[in-house]
Assembly symmetry: C2
Homo-oligomer: 306 residues x 2
Amino acid sequence: MNKQIKLLVCVAGLSSLYALNTGVAAQTQAKPAAKPTMQDILKASQASDWRSLDPNNTLYLDLEKGRVVIELAPEFAPKNVVNIKTLVKEGYFDGLAMIRSHDNYVAQWGDPGEKREFKKAAKKVEGEFTVKYKKDAPFTRLPDVDGYAPQVGHVNSFAAARDPKTQTTWLTHCYGAIGVARGNETDSGNGSSLYAVTGHAPRNLDRNITVVGRVMHGIELLSSLPRGTGALGFYEKPEERTPIKSVRLAADVPEAERSKLEVFRTDTANFTALVEAQRNRGGDWYKFAANHIELCNVPIPVRIVK
Amino acid sequence: MNKQIKLLVCVAGLSSLYALNTGVAAQTQAKPAAKPTMQDILKASQASDWRSLDPNNTLYLDLEKGRVVIELAPEFAPKNVVNIKTLVKEGYFDGLAMIRSHDNYVAQWGDPGEKREFKKAAKKVEGEFTVKYKKDAPFTRLPDVDGYAPQVGHVNSFAAARDPKTQTTWLTHCYGAIGVARGNETDSGNGSSLYAVTGHAPRNLDRNITVVGRVMHGIELLSSLPRGTGALGFYEKPEERTPIKSVRLAADVPEAERSKLEVFRTDTANFTALVEAQRNRGGDWYKFAANHIELCNVPIPVRIVK
């Protein structure tokens, strides 16, 4: 790796849970080679283990406190992604707000008054809850059992599931997943109100709503928002809402202002090793090997490239 | 129900995800009796479906913004619960702080400087990661598959798991679970630093650390804390830490200042009905029945009794 990198917090659970003064225990004794940890695997990773985010499918949700970077997955929701990008290019979200923070569930944004007009964007977009299953499509399958789907795994660094019987594949509602809010009708969503999963994966939403991507950086800006005190975590007063400065497509942002991120690829031997390192953890802290990893506990590391 | 009650946010996912101006859709059409929703079941619940929290095993963690109510489960961690109660009675936590908020993982509290002295409390307490499995012990088993344990379910309104082969039962790391931070040695925890799960259930911690109870009210005060920017989510500067006013045992708090809470019992027919209502959701919004519920997605409702 020639690039200077800063590894971001991925999925948690890297560490002991002891309250140390400095936060990290110094565990640098000389010891025989042990089972590699996730950190070992990431340190030894090669440039080919990572991929850049596609600027034409990456959104920057800019808040006062920082930027939330979302990568869209057009292969899973082509029509919704097109409409969201149309809304973004229209400046639809600029000056709108976070309208909801529902504890252990979602943070949602959009137009609190639902009055802002669409220019070119469509008002109704067909729900894209699943896509057609293709036997030979890339899918790094987890060997682990899952209660919500017959097969789970990863597609291009997104958590996914598939069912050969119903011939469907879909993105799952893991932490950080981005979905298109809708009413009771399946075509009532259009991307003008989006949510991010900020709690324990509500997998019951899978195949019921369109997942369009996931937060690759800055999820803590959404997950630490004050919870709304209205029904379903909606904010009751305008002043409770966090304003959105802008939502822009990375490709439309000057190069110098872009967030330079890379995500760990999920179709590599090192990803398989990383999953195993998390399934049965190395290090001195763990006493009991889970011998299992749940889909939404699989970390998909993201790093900043300087 | 003669008592005036206010039902608290349980586990999320009750609702459509549409951004309505008011937050909730008015859906009060006359329709044939449909599959009951969780709300229907709670509305029709009887006094016998609920139990009070035990004031001798309930802690009030009081912060500037409000109170976190924790119920301890001495049947799962008798020695650790005794030590925590000893620390609480010594006033150990009063004036200490939240020392860590690790996104999608835990919020942890204790003594940032690790200098405060213990009076009667023990410095080392044996880890109580599991208790002996008893075939006839109360355990409302979920029929749903679980990757982390051969059997999962609920004991006295706590999410739990058990393994007849290894003859063990344990509390699981679902959202809101409270655990005893420890170092590498299994007896290195003592309850002076505790954490609450504030992210996707880190079930890999199960059987590796002592779970002593769960947050019954006020988890949002912990889950919405600003994330620590140090390693593992520890706060780097003293001013970033949220101070703890006090931690008290409910029984030691004057009656008038107590939080009057009741938790939904998990050994009733109505609980089984509630689980089924969440496994395959009624209402007009859901189009696809999951036919599964993951242990940590099972809501355990709590209500305020006035």
